[in-house]
Subunit: 266 residues, 2 copies
């Protein structure tokens, strides 16, 4: 998708959870995580013992402009230190075993993170290293685990994709965009009277051209045409275009008729 935006406007939005990458291996991925965080309105990024040290220029190159998130990264030597000032910690974990712990879906985690942040408490989410994921001690530091519902036949989830899903759920948890909306831009949805006005115009012209000349079938044909145009919302602009189409086709036909009349018959 298009990447025309710079990241100049990125800033913390209210009290939002900290993303904590534990022993991340690839700077590319750290950059991609920052980008995903920016997409979902997260800002605070902490790194625990990144394999190749920090800062790494590659991260900035792969963040597509989410520079401010990387500029403000804080670095820790251990998970314990990275969560010391937080009140709640969640740990992402694709398939927890032999652990007694609440397990949240990504959507459930996002909802709880909003509740925690709304109470002015500080929350963080741990993401494990690319290859092995979080270890058992990391998970013991968390209040709850987060397991994304995904295809059990293919659980290999890229680190930045995991951050993306969480950031996306964080954003959508308080987004109220309707699931379907007709975008009309400069125009508006036509009223039934405006649509009726067009249908009368259309049927008039269809009568004039003989399309409806079979009188026993005419009522059914008119109803079928009406059904088609009633199926979805039609805009005022589209009705204007449809009026124009019918008028022009009718004029074309009449001119053709005049041409035929004036043409020599032999």
């Amino acid at each position: 998708m298009t990447g025309r935006d710079g990241g100049a406007d990125i800033a913390p939005i209210g009290n939002s959870p900290v993303v904590i990458l534990v022993r991340p291996q690839l700077a590319d991925n750290i950059g991609a995580c920052a980008r995903a965080m920016a997409n979902g309105g997260l800002f605070h990024l902490r790194l625990v013992a990144p394999r190749d040290g920090w800062p790494q220029e590659k991260a900035w190159r792969n963040s597509s402009g989410a520079d401010r998130i990387l500029d403000e990264v804080t670095l820790f030597a251990s998970v314990t230190e990275s969560v010391a000032d937080l009140h709640h910690v969640f740990a992402t974990c694709p398939r927890p075993r032999h652990v007694i712990k609440p397990v949240l879906t990504a959507r459930g985690a996002a909802a709880e993170l909003h509740e925690i942040c709304a109470r002015d408490l500080r929350a963080g989410v741990l993401f494990g290293p690319e290859r092995a994921g979080l270890d058992n001690d990391d998970m013991a530091a968390a209040d709850a685990l987060v397991r994304f519902p995904l295809n059990p036949a293919f659980m290999s989830l890229n680190l930045a994709q995991a951050v993306m899903v969480l950031a996306y759920e964080w954003w959508t948890a308080i987004d109220d965009t309707p699931p379907r909306l007709l975008m009309t831009n400069e125009t508006s949805i036509a009223t039934k009277a405006e649509l009726e006005n067009f249908l009368v115009h259309l049927v008039d012209q269809l009568d004039a051209c003989g399309f409806l000349r079979n009188l026993p079938k005419r009522p059914g044909m008119v109803r079928n045409i009406r059904h088609f145009f009633q199926r979805g919302e039609v805009t005022v602009q589209e009705l204007r275009t449809l009026h124009g189409i019918v008028t022009e086709l009718a004029i074309g036909r009449r001119q053709m008729g005049r041409l035929e009349e004036s043409a020599p018959l032999d």
Copy 2:
């Protein structure tokens, strides 16, 4: 997250929508898209005029084992040809302008795609090239647009991230994992009687050691302890551990007491 799974088990799951990458630029991204599709249970991938041709080995290297999806890619010269056998087409578009078209959220699109597929119709979703996104003609080929609710201050969404969000919504639309669940593994959640049994043991030992010797304060202290242990679900295994801790601490104290008693006082 961990990537221990191979992709040997990847296969189409029922009637699922086709992902159509329109003029994709980077083979790396095509591989990452295949991986994201596998995560979300999507299988059918079509490419329209990929910039660097097809096949590209880089795609397989970056798919983390989602090889079967790449092996079965079909290639088209135009969007029109790529959607010819489909009944419904959605087009992802971060910020549609001057278009009169229904706009769906990712979640709304996933719900509608399930409805379409359940009717045995074939659906597809168009994703535009990395830099520019879909053009106006591409969008005119679609029934509806899909716009992910994301941070308007940072809309630059990586192609594979966009596919990930859609695949994730496709999967979760029919997933019924509860948002929060206590994972107990081999053990089970203790009943109130089992918890009471432990609390009686604890209070007995606290009486014995003198922790509750302030009789006016004793009822309140006991209640506070009860409140703490009632706060969340406790498992049978955790109760066994807690019984053990109390017993061992008590034994340690008694032994210490005996040692003190037997130790010379001067």
